[in-house]
């Protein structure tokens, strides 16, 4: 029966595509909520980031089940599942960043906060670019514009990361743990873009996987 179901114009496949869209929208939402929390210093908003991570986990499991049920040709399944995993890692990383931010008992230095807000804003833009890349993959359009933007923004974040650390080295911290949590927070925040770039690479691989 599973085989004959596959002739119903790709119902399973459409469901997987919709799940990916929902997964990427969850990433976008999570980056936006995090940015808002950082800008307003409203740590209450960070719980939503953790909730969105749980939602992403659920979507990843659904994608895995549908792929296992026979959605798509085997040549694509591995890359599709890897993409779901990487998107899930983006949400995990955002959750880690939110948790580290909650752990910070100090108010961020305004100069550092300003740069972190810039990084968070770029993360939001990258998550939208990722959605565009997937939309283009679905429509059979060129991925170049979206993926080039993602790579450029990732480089922008690399530059910001170096500046944040240079600034941090000139600041005093009360004790080891405060310094460690602050460093972990920065590390997590700047790693989100790396994972979004990995997801974009996988979308490009998918695009050529059957050609």
């Amino acid at each position: 029966m599973k085989f004959f179901r596959r002739f119903t114009f790709g119902r399973l496949e459409s469901e997987v595509v919709e799940l990916f869209e929902e997964h990427m929208n969850t990433v976008r939402l999570s980056t936006e909520v995090f940015l808002m929390a950082l800008e307003t210093d409203d740590k209450g908003l960070l719980n939503q980031v953790c909730e969105l991570e749980k939602k992403g986990d659920k979507i990843r499991r659904e994608i895995a089940l549908k792929l296992y049920s026979g959605a798509f040709l085997p040549a694509m399944r591995g890359t599709l599942y890897k993409l779901a995993e990487v998107i899930d890692e983006v949400l995990d990383m955002l959750e880690d960043t939110a948790v580290d931010y909650l752990r910070l008992n100090l108010h961020l230095d305004e100069e550092i906060r300003g740069m972190c807000v810039k990084v968070a804003k770029i993360n939001v833009k990258m998550s939208k670019d990722l959605i565009d890349a997937f939309k283009n993959l679905k429509m059979g359009k060129s991925l170049e514009r979206a993926t080039v933007k993602i790579r450029a923004r990732e480089r922008e974040i690399d530059v910001l990361r170096n500046r944040i650390y240079e600034t941090l080295m000139g600041k005093d911290v009360k004790n080891y743990w405060e310094g460690k949590v602050l460093s972990d927070f920065i590390d997590s925040l700047v790693s989100v873009s790396d994972l979004i770039e990995d997801a974009a690479d996988l979308i490009q691989i998918l695009n050529v996987s059957l050609r």
């Binding site: 496949e13 040709l73 085997p74 040549a75 694509m76 679905k138 059979g140 998918l206 059957l210 050609r211």
Partner: protein, 307 residues
């Protein structure tokens, strides 16, 4: 009764050998499971064997066969095909059967060797033709697919792989099985319809119980197949055999498929083709008809078989 058993044995052997031709690539690519492949092959082989008689007529006209000769030809052919399957090396049932009929014809001085020339030429041309068609099909599809979304391409490829499998299954009935049953019909032991139904049934049983072994060799052994390569190879083999079936020539789906796979392998670079596997298949290509010829000839001339 002996003739029915021989017919069942040869059909069973073709089923065990030729499931890979129709659905080796879809199964190798993971698109179809083995059970569904066997169901499809059963349906379309029956349709093919009931609707196309040209190959049966050509093969039946190679030599004049009586009951005993038909039984010897089919038994030796069946044994050879089953043994080659057990060795996991695909062999053309056509070549074995044609070699065997020629052996019987030479032993009884009834062989019409002139018919052999177009048959052997077809054997040479069919894998070469399939190779070139596969290259063209792959090249064209690559160009066409570049205009579509990967999700649309996936859907098209899925349907095309199944459809080309169905085409090859039809060819198996109209060409491979028809050639195998030709001695029975030629010796007037069965009507074409009776022979086709009996042959199709035992081919289905053979595919069900022994087809899985050769599927592994053809689908996964020669070159790493992506769905586009798999389709190009199989569809080219299907078109080639369909052409030769319509001109009444018994050609091997197995070797056409190998030709198609080599074609797409060459497009990817010679390193993508496992030359050792090709060499092994070429040796079988020469040895199979010669062996069946000699065995049948010796069995009839010196084995005390009554003519």
């Amino acid at each position: 009764m002996l003739s029915e058993i021989a017919a069942a044995a040869i059909s069973f052997s073709i089923g065990s050998n030729n499931t890979s031709n129709a659905f080796g690539i879809p199964v190798g690519c993971g698109i179809l499971n083995f059970r569904n492949a066997v169901i499809l092959i059963g349906i379309f082989v029956t349709i093919g064997s009931l609707t196309q008689r040209k190959v049966m007529e050509t093969v039946g006209s190679i030599a004049s066969l009586n009951r005993n000769l038909a039984v010897v030809v089919l038994t030796i052919s069946a044994l050879m095909i089953v043994l080659s399957n057990l060795k996991k090396s695909p062999v053309s049932s056509h070549q074995v059967i044609v070699g065997s009929i020629v052996g019987a014809g030479v032993a009884t001085a009834t062989a019409k060797l002139g018919i052999l020339i177009p048959i052997v030429v077809s054997w040479i041309l069919s894998p070469i033709g399939a190779m070139f068609i596969a290259i063209v099909v792959y090249f064209l599809l690559e160009k066409i697919f570049s205009r579509f979304s990967v999700f649309v391409v996936e859907r098209i490829l899925f349907l095309m792989l199944i459809l080309s499998g169905v085409l090859v299954a039809y060819n198996t009935g109209s060409n491979e099985l028809a050639a195998a049953l030709a001695p029975l019909v030629s010796a007037k032991l069965m009507s074409p319809v009776e022979a086709s139904l009996l042959g199709s049934f035992f081919l289905f049983i053979g595919a069900l119980f022994m087809g899985g072994r050769v599927v592994e060799t053809v689908g996964k052994g020669i070159t790493a197949l992506d769905p586009l390569s798999g389709f190009s190879a199989q569809f080219s083999a299907g078109l080639t055999v369909l052409f030769f079936t319509n001109v009444g020539m018994p050609v091997s789906t197995t070797y056409s498929l190998v030709g198609g796979i080599v074609g797409v392998g060459l497009l990817k670079g010679v390193k993508a083709v496992k030359l050792s596997v090709i060499r092994k298949i070429l040796i079988t290509w020469v040895l199979a008809p010669l062996s069946s010829f000699l065995l049948t000839y010796l069995a009839i001339r010196f084995g005390g078989v009554l003519i």
